[in-house]
């Protein structure tokens, strides 16, 4: 095994275009870059087939212009040995560098191996472009200390204080089987099959060391993370993420998103904390709600996305404006008011959620909602107080239920030759 890890795997290109670039992947230059200038974030937002650079100062998949599809999975570590976990992280990183560049994993890939052996790569992405696949890893509290207080892998003293156990929020009806996890991997791509392929192959590599705890498919990004993107709509039919942090706001990102030197343990510098919440929407009752009530609940116009009392989506919200009836145009218990930085000590989140419809619930209703993903510098100052306020007062709570939850420390970016979480295990 160790020898295989040391080998620079070349991987098999899924498209002839990448034919000569195999070695470039191993040295940290995306295969695509051998044929084109390095894609800028803005051009990445419009080119939905190319690769996103896997290596860099931050992990890809956070400020990367949000792709259209999600396959998110959390894993429990089943192996007791730290060494096994470290070698898995190395294998995962090598595989992630290949698949994000649009290449098969392994020495032989999907179809070039010996006929008697199962293929190294499962093969359903053969012929598909990289499709802006990003893979982002995070480590949950249970990796550091389990429920019984055991220091499982000698990491207990490396747990950042900011990786807090999320408190119970009013109304939480969390399913333990859809919550937590020792490790999270977020796969985002513009092609659902590419995202599924990525998680499927990482899960397979992990057998014996990890087991999938749960996985979630998502579609139709509900946030934009770049000004080059239009604001998409969630399943309530409203534009979602108008005021989201954007990759162009570099100064704000340092303040709100990226863990700074001195914030906590060094291994998290350049990283970010992810909170994942599976939010079930009772869309059937929502759909019976009048248009004006829907808009009052959200605090924005359904068609334009403009704050109530304004004309344009990006107009600043006037929280003081009142209507003829003397009521605030943006109601006291509306979602945008309660979630806004002005009412949360300036705290913001980089939201990266996705819609989901997981069939139906057996009661004639769609099992639908929002798989909420939010990145931040410190959940204790950001997600937790914001959600406490929302869970207490948000009138939208009548139509949503938080049914899954997780918090993860996503380390800084991966340099060529290093691996996911190397500094954590150093």
């Amino acid at each position: 095994m160790a020898e295989r890890e040391e080998q620079q795997r070349k991987g098999i290109s899924r498209r002839g275009l990448f034919g000569a670039a195999g070695a470039a992947v191993a040295t940290g230059v995306a295969g695509y870059a051998a044929h084109s200038v390095i894609a800028t974030p803005e051009s990445q937002a419009s080119d939905s087939s190319g690769p996103v650079e896997f290596h860099g100062p931050h992990q890809a998949g956070i400020v990367t212009p949000a792709q259209d599809r999600l396959h998110f999975a959390t894993f429990d570590v089943t192996a007791g040995k730290r060494d096994a976990l470290v070698s898995l992280l190395k294998e995962w990183t090598a595989a992630a560098a290949l698949i994000t560049a649009g290449r098969d994993i392994g020495q032989y890939g999907a179809v070039n191996g010996p006929g008697e052996a199962p293929p190294e790569d499962t093969g359903e992405a053969v012929g598909l472009p990289p499709a802006r696949l990003t893979l982002t890893i995070g480590f949950g509290p249970s990796l550091f200390v389990d429920a019984k207080g055991n220091d499982r892998f000698g990491l207990a003293d490396r747990r950042p204080a900011a990786l807090a156990d999320l408190p119970h929020f009013i109304g939480d009806t969390l399913d333990p089987a859809r919550s937590g996890g020792d490790i999270a991997i977020q796969a985002c791509s513009d092609d659902p099959q590419v995202a599924v392929h990525a998680i499927r192959n990482l899960a397979r590599i992990g057998f014996g060391t990890t087991a999938v705890r749960y996985s979630q498919l998502g579609f139709g990004r509900t946030s934009s993370t770049s000004r080059a993107q239009t604001t998409p709509r969630n399943l309530f039919g409203f534009k979602d993420g108008t005021n989201n942090l954007k990759l162009e706001d570099t100064a704000k990102l340092e303040q709100q998103l990226w863990v700074q030197p001195g914030d906590g343990p060094d291994w998290m510098t350049g990283g970010s904390y992810l909170v994942a919440r599976r939010i079930r929407m009772t869309i059937e009752t929502w759909d019976r709600t009048s248009l004006s009530e829907q808009e009052t609940i959200v605090g924005r116009g359904k068609g334009t996305g403009a704050p109530l009392g304004k004309a344009d989506e990006f107009d600043p919200i006037d929280f003081e404006a009142k209507g003829a009836d003397g009521e605030y145009k943006v109601a006291k218990d509306s979602h945008v008011r309660l979630a806004h930085p002005q009412f949360n000590n300036g705290a913001e989140l980089l939201r990266r959620g996705y819609n989901f419809v997981d069939g139906s619930d057996g009661l004639g209703r769609l099992n639908a909602g929002l798989f909420f993903l939010a990145y931040q510098r410190d959940p204790r100052k950001q997600f937790i107080p914001i959600q406490q306020q929302l869970s207490r007062s948000d009138v939208m709570n009548e139509y949503i239920r938080h049914v899954g939850s997780g918090i993860f420390a996503c380390p800084g970016g991966v340099q060529a030759g290093s691996f996911w979480g190397e500094k954590l295990f150093a």
Partner: protein, 381 residues
């Protein structure tokens, strides 16, 4: 495709009624005198002991005369490293004596009795010294692997027929309690060699179909048909014809299994298929849905998989030693997980919590993935 020349099975299992002296009978094994360094090794098996008259034998062919003085059915195995089956005799009933004739190259082995046929058994060392050393080249190692696995299949097949005969007799005698006790035991031998049995076309569905496997217009027969009557109705009424048919079908499988020629890739794929069976049928509890004796089948599937993989061990060791280590560790993890459910010589009824089902699923997945790699390693030239 590797063709294996026909070899005569080396294992001879002869039931000899204890206390009945067959004077002049050629197969009668002389009792080894204490201190005797040649001749057969006498194995005294009881419910708690596994005594060998000596623990050193010369390389080449050895005979072990196993007498069961206990109250439980026992098995006797000679294992090489990693529980590679060098030879075994199954289904030695109380008061019976059976011989194991086995060829052993120089090396360290374990001699193991398994009273009640379960678990790790009672283990002791066995040292083989002399000139006959193991084959060094890998083609010969593969040839040995197929020979040794075929011996394993053969002895499982013999035991399958014996136990099914007993099960069928109990069903036809209307002895529900006895039939219930024998049902999971007779299935153990079936499950250990299931991929071999499955290779004989329509015999598998006739013997082992679940109710939902049956095509409309076709009659549901076999083990599970009888299982439903025993556990759902607590009765054997109307089951005699199915019992008779089961025995006919099992005898056909056994005759075919004894004659089957396997190649190393078939061993490797069979080992993988046995774990597929566990992952899809046993973990879910759909195999023995009336009796909930799934864990017997589960255990037997994994034992059968291990027997096939470990038969290939010397060849695997030469080609991918790291894989062998992983396989050893992960087989052990599955058996350890199963231990939690053991009660006496059997298992708790399988009605797991989701957490328990998940834990079993995890250890099986962890094992199945490296087992799936065995065939590719064996195929390397």
């Amino acid at each position: 495709m590797i063709t294996i020349p026909t070899t005569r099975a080396v294992v001879v299992a002869l039931p000899v009624l204890a206390g009945l002296l067959l004077a002049g009978c050629a197969e009668e094994t002389p009792q080894a005198a204490p201190g005797d360094t040649t001749g057969p090794v006498a194995v005294k098996a009881t419910d708690s002991e596994c005594d060998l008259s000596r623990r050193d034998v010369k390389s080449g062919t050895s005979t072990f005369s196993v007498s069961n003085g206990g109250s439980k059915v026992t098995e006797f195995y000679v294992y090489a490293e990693g529980d590679r089956v060098m030879g075994e005799v199954e289904n030695i009933g109380p008061g019976l004596k059976r011989d194991l004739i086995v060829e052993l190259p120089t090396g360290k082995y374990h001699a193991v009795c398994k009273p009640g046929m379960v678990g790790d058994g009672i283990r002791g060392d066995l040292t083989v010294s002399g000139d006959a050393t193991p084959h060094a080249d890998s083609d010969a190692a593969l040839k040995d692997a197929t020979k040794s696995y075929q011996r394993y299949v053969n002895s499982q097949a013999v035991a399958l027929e014996e136990k099914t005969t007993e099960f069928v007799a109990a069903v036809k005698a209307g002895d529900v309690a006895k039939a219930k006790a024998l049902y999971p035991v007779s299935r153990t031998y079936w499950e250990r060699i299931e991929p071999v049995a499955e290779s004989f076309g329509d015999l598998d569905p006739k013997i082992d179909a679940r109710v939902n496997d049956v095509e409309p217009g076709t009659e549901w027969t076999g083990y599970h048909r009888i299982e439903q009557a025993l556990w759902e109705k607590n009765s054997t009424a109307g089951m005699a014809k199915y019992a008779d048919q089961l025995l006919v079908d099992v005898k056909t499988v056994v005759a075919k299994a004894k004659a089957v020629q396997l190649n190393p890739l078939q061993l490797a794929n069979g080992a993988k298929e046995l774990l597929d069976e566990v992952a899809t049928g046993k973990i879910t509890g759909e195999e023995d849905r009336y009796s909930h004796t799934d864990l017997w089948d589960f255990d037997a599937n994994v034992e059968g998989s291990q027997a096939a993989v470990q038969a290939l061990r010397p060849a695997l060791q030469q080609r991918d030693a790291a894989l062998v280590t992983t396989l050893d560790t992960n087989f052990k993890a599955v058996f350890t997980a199963l231990e939690k459910y053991r009660v006496g010589d059997g298992f708790k009824p399988y009605q797991p919590t989701e957490a328990e089902r998940r834990e079993l699923g995890n250890v099986v997945d962890a094992l199945a993935e490296p087992v799936s790699k065995v065939a590719g390693v064996i195929a390397q030239k």
